[in-house]
């Protein structure tokens, strides 16, 4: 028995969300009195052994070049082989773009119940006399787009958890992992990747710790310079409300909410956004929400932790300045 963690990579680098699942998976293993092992597919340029500091003891690598790009069908087949050979009882993914493609397939392959979008460690204490279905292995996940949570009980022998990005804090200790080559049967990929485009040098919205977001209150695209400047001093990603993306003031990959990205940063700063329920659906899992709006009645204030009622055009530059001062940058 072991806990197996899927280490997701991009261009040979371990993704930030992988560090979260490694930390989480090690904790699950500790809880179950077993060891955490990792599986990584394709070639990796980073030092995998160093990932031992997140608590993983052994990493199985299938360094086949045809696994350098995601083909969910192929990935699930290979991970299933590793899971079977290591006797994994709990398998952990990040509920990121790749996890959402692979975990459901593996769930079918191994007949293993899947909880996607988990936000906490599983509850394995089955002493709950008042709640007969709540026994065994129960995992808390977000439902109703962050407006509620559900405790999902998994009844199968093998369990799969896909952890929400940013839901579990990475903790590094010391230790090194033993990296072993795993000999898997790898079929030909059916999905061919012909092109990849990535915004370079910017903070990735879905992974960002801090997000600075602005809405129609900013009046027009020409006013976004100060939003970007604020984001820059905070090392934050930028986001926007839907009408802003629809009007092409900002690119669509910044649109958050029900129909855009769902994010859960540590800090979400909403400027000139009214806080419509569909907007909140994408951001309400943020840990701290700051709202800047000239209308004291804006619904967003009800969902906020901190707020300023005032004119964004005056407040943003002052805020940037104050943060510069705080961080000691000129």
């Amino acid at each position: 028995m072991s806990v197996l963690i899927f280490i997701d990579t991009t261009d040979g680098h371990v993704k930030k969300s992988s560090l979260e699942v490694l930390t989480y998976g090690a904790k699950v293993a500790e809880q179950l009195g077993t060891v955490a092992e990792g599986v990584v597919l394709g070639s990796v340029t980073e030092d995998l052994a160093a990932l031992g500091k997140y608590g993983v003891k052994k990493i199985h690598q299938v360094a086949d070049d045809s696994l350098n790009h995601l083909d969910a069908q192929l990935y699930a087949k290979v991970i299933a082989q590793v899971a079977e050979s290591t006797g994994a009882k709990v398998i952990i993914f990040s509920n990121n773009v790749d996890g959402k493609a692979i975990a459901p397939r593996l769930s079918v392959r191994l007949k293993a119940g899947l909880v996607s979008g988990a936000v906490a460690l599983p509850d394995t204490s089955n002493a709950r006399p008042d709640d007969p279905v709540g026994r065994g292995f129960v995992v808390k996940k977000n439902v109703f787009s962050g407006k509620a949570f559900a405790n999902i009980s998994v009844s199968t022998d093998i369990k799969i958890i896909a952890l929400s990005p940013n839901a579990y804090k990475t903790v590094a200790g010391d230790g090194t992992a033993e990296v072993v080559a795993f000999n898997a049967t790898v079929d030909a990929a059916k999905v061919k990747v012909t092109n990849t485009t990535k915004a370079s040098g910017e903070v990735v919205l879905t992974e960002a710790e801090i997000v600075v977001s602005a809405g129609r209150g900013l009046k027009g695209p020409e006013n976004w310079g100060m939003v970007e400047e604020l984001a820059k001093v905070l090392h934050a990603a930028t986001a926007c409300s839907r009408p802003v993306a629809d009007a092409h003031w900002r690119p669509h990959n910044e649109h958050v909410g029900q129909t855009g990205f769902a994010i859960a940063p540590n800090l979400y700063i909403a400027i000139g956004i009214s806080g419509a329920i569909q907007h909140l659906a994408g951001v309400n899992r943020s840990k701290v929400i700051v709202v800047i709006n000239k209308d004291a009645e804006a619904p967003f204030f009800k969902a906020a932790d901190y707020g300023i009622v005032g004119d964004a055009f005056e407040i943003i530059p002052k805020m940037t300045e104050a943060i510069r001062k705080l961080k000691g940058v000129a």
């Binding site: 007949k111 109703f144 559900a150 009980s153 061919k192 990747v193 990535k198």
Partner: protein, 247 residues
Amino acid sequence: MKILVCISKTPDTTAKIAFTDNNTKFDVNGVQWIINPYDEWYALVRAIELKEADAAATIHLITVGAADAEPIIRKALALGGDEAIRVNADSHDSFYIASQIAEIAKQGGYDLVLTGKETIDYNGSSIGGMVAELLDQPYVSLATKFELAGTKATITREIEGGEEVNEVELPVVVSAQKGMAEARIPNMRGIMAARTKPLKVVEPIAADALTTVAGFGLPPAKAGVKLVAADNVEELVRLLHEEAKAI
């Protein structure tokens, strides 16, 4: 070209979220039901566009749900699609639902199965991948574009901070999100036509549920907003740094 579009029923985006039966059931009291937005706006509309470009294409809709899902599937038929299938089962387990969809998909021999990116109530984002595995077909998830040339599909999918273009031979299962198509509104002709389109009800096959909902809960209420005066932005920054430890 045969397309199967998976349609689910979800509470309206503005529905009040509450629970009954000792927090084990979603409170449906006063809830307005809609077609899950991703299924309607992106999966279904893209299927309709594909049919508009290829008169020989057929679109079937499938929903796994009780009789109360029928208004939703009729509404979907009013937008487009040739016929609908309702598998008469009420379940919230992804594997169970996927097993039903896969069974219908096998029988129908579809070239393309389209799902939404996720349901806005259970947020599983899992059923498309499960169906693909059950069918042993490739799966491209979170797709923002879908183009077809003969039997080769060129699909753009979301990756962290960007996009990736995938090429794959049909048959394939694809989950759709924003970018795939522009939402449409059903017109009178569509609504009239939908009344006479076939809606087949079939009984479910035996399948396991791998998970159950032990209970629901609401996140703890926010303590309330701490307001800072507009002329005291430095105080906000201090609070974020010292109190919230967010910067």
